[in-house]
């Protein structure tokens, strides 16, 4: 294995989970997410000499998001309409799916499934900042770079995304809790 390949595997591949997580949440489809990440990793490989060091994860996620945008515009051009899958899980997923957490996929609670469904209903521009901030723990500046918008826009989108989640999810959880009493 040549040195470039070895460096790429050592630096980029540990972040494959972050790449697939973002792609799954953006595309809301297992198969589409795999295609986006495959495309993104190959672009990252070809562009690897241009990577100037530092944290590679935001760089990779920027490529993942760009590949997703490209795949969406190609679909539109060809006349396909991307339909989000209502339940982000597909039949057969359980066979290959490594689970939401290492403990056990089976342990995911009703609350978790409901939360997934609520996140999936958020509009793209709000869903992506939420995933990048809360699941990937990225800074506003990194999120601004990845999503290609000004810092202020990241802040207002995050604020709006949280407000929507609070309304849709906390509202539901609280009403259930009061029913249970």
């Amino acid at each position: 294995m040549d040195d470039r390949r070895r460096r790429f595997e050592a630096q980029a591949l540990p972040h494959l989970d972050a790449a697939i997580n973002l792609a799954r949440w953006l595309t809301r489809s297992h198969a589409d997410a795999d295609d986006v990440v495959q495309d993104a990793m190959m672009r990252a490989w070809r562009a690897f000499d241009g990577f100037r060091g530092g944290d590679i994860r935001p760089w990779l996620l920027t490529i993942v998001r760009n590949c997703w945008r490209t795949s969406m515009s190609e679909r539109k051009r060809r006349g396909h309409v991307a339909l989000p899958e209502e339940n982000t899980q597909q039949p057969g997923d359980e066979l290959t799916y490594a689970g939401p957490s290492p403990e056990s996929a089976a342990m995911q609670s009703d609350a978790g499934r409901k939360l997934d469904a609520v996140i999936a209903t958020l509009p793209d521009e709000f869903r992506e900042v939420l995933i990048l901030r809360e699941m990937e723990d990225l800074s506003y500046r990194e999120i601004a770079t990845i999503t290609d918008v000004p810092l202020g826009t990241v802040m207002s989108r995050l604020n709006r995304a949280r407000a929507m989640l609070r309304e849709k999810w906390l509202g539901e959880v609280e009403s259930e809790a009061s029913h249970a009493l």
Partner: protein, 256 residues
């Protein structure tokens, strides 16, 4: 009617404010009930997003597919220089380990093991723990369960505590082997990341303070006769923060 400082509160909770601006928000929180409520809701959402929502992971099929594409774009003579390792893993696949797991492990293990064998052992143990879902032998968020279990199964009693407040949630413990020596492992969750903390006794060799292998950061420290090592794919600063918390705990344990 939302408070006009609502957005500042979010920046504060996202760790985006400097000390002076953070102090302003903190004193505002003391007097504003609206913001206190918003704070607890945002924190509840954050916990739910990190612990209840699905964090998707790459499966072996995708890893294999990317590997095959990379092979196509890597000069032929340089690929597959480790037939022995491949054969070994193909053999293992027929045995106890599933093909899927073998594929995902081979993906990492095909890289030549360079440098300190202990670091290789630790990295492989970490990858195994995550890939095989044999992450935890004793599932508990209670140190009073994990600590005695480790004492009984690993003959070691390292400091254990739940640091949920500081962002490191104790999720359990297990026994693992490093260079053939039994070690006690405590497992923490930090956001979407897993941190494995290995502890073992009477290790005489010199160790570096940090190392990075395959993109995983590793931090070493010693305390008494125990050697500790924390490894994760989260940032080095986060791992150092956890190591500081555990060092503080070692000192408390020693005084008790």
């Amino acid at each position: 009617m939302p408070c006009e400082r609502a957005q500042q509160l979010e920046a504060y909770l996202d760790g985006e404010l400097d000390a002076a601006a953070a102090a302003v928000v903190e004193s505002h929180l003391e007097t504003c009930g609206e913001c206190r409520k918003a704070k607890s809701q945002i924190e509840a959402l954050r916990t739910a997003l990190r612990e209840k929502a699905t964090y998707h992971r790459a499966d072996a099929k995708l890893r294999a597919r990317i590997r095959a594409s990379l092979d196509k774009e890597t000069p032929r003579t340089n690929v597959l220089r480790f037939p022995g390792v491949r054969a070994m893993w193909a053999g293992a696949a027929g045995g106890a380990i599933s093909t899927a797991l073998a594929a995902s492990l081979a993906f990492f293990l095909l890289m030549p093991a360079a440098g300190d064998p202990l670091i290789t052992d630790i990295t492989n143990a970490h990858l195994r723990s995550i890939a095989s879902e044999h992450l935890i032998d004793v599932v508990s968020t209670d140190r009073h369960t994990v600590k005695p279990w480790l004492a009984a199964h690993a003959d070691l009693s390292p400091p254990v505590a739940d640091f949920s407040k500081q962002g490191f949630k104790l999720i359990g413990g297990r026994v693992d082997f490093l260079e053939g020596v039994r070690s006690a492992v405590t497992v923490y969750r930090h956001g979407a990341h897993i941190v494995n903390v290995f502890a073992w006794a009477n290790y005489e060799e010199e160790l570096p303070d940090f190392a990075t292998r395959n993109g995983y950061h590793i931090v070493f420290w010693k305390s008494g006769n125990l050697t500790f090592c924390a490894i994760s794919d989260t940032s080095i600063d986060d791992i150092l923060a956890l190591s500081r918390l555990l060092k503080g705990l070692s000192q408390t344990d020693a005084r008790e």
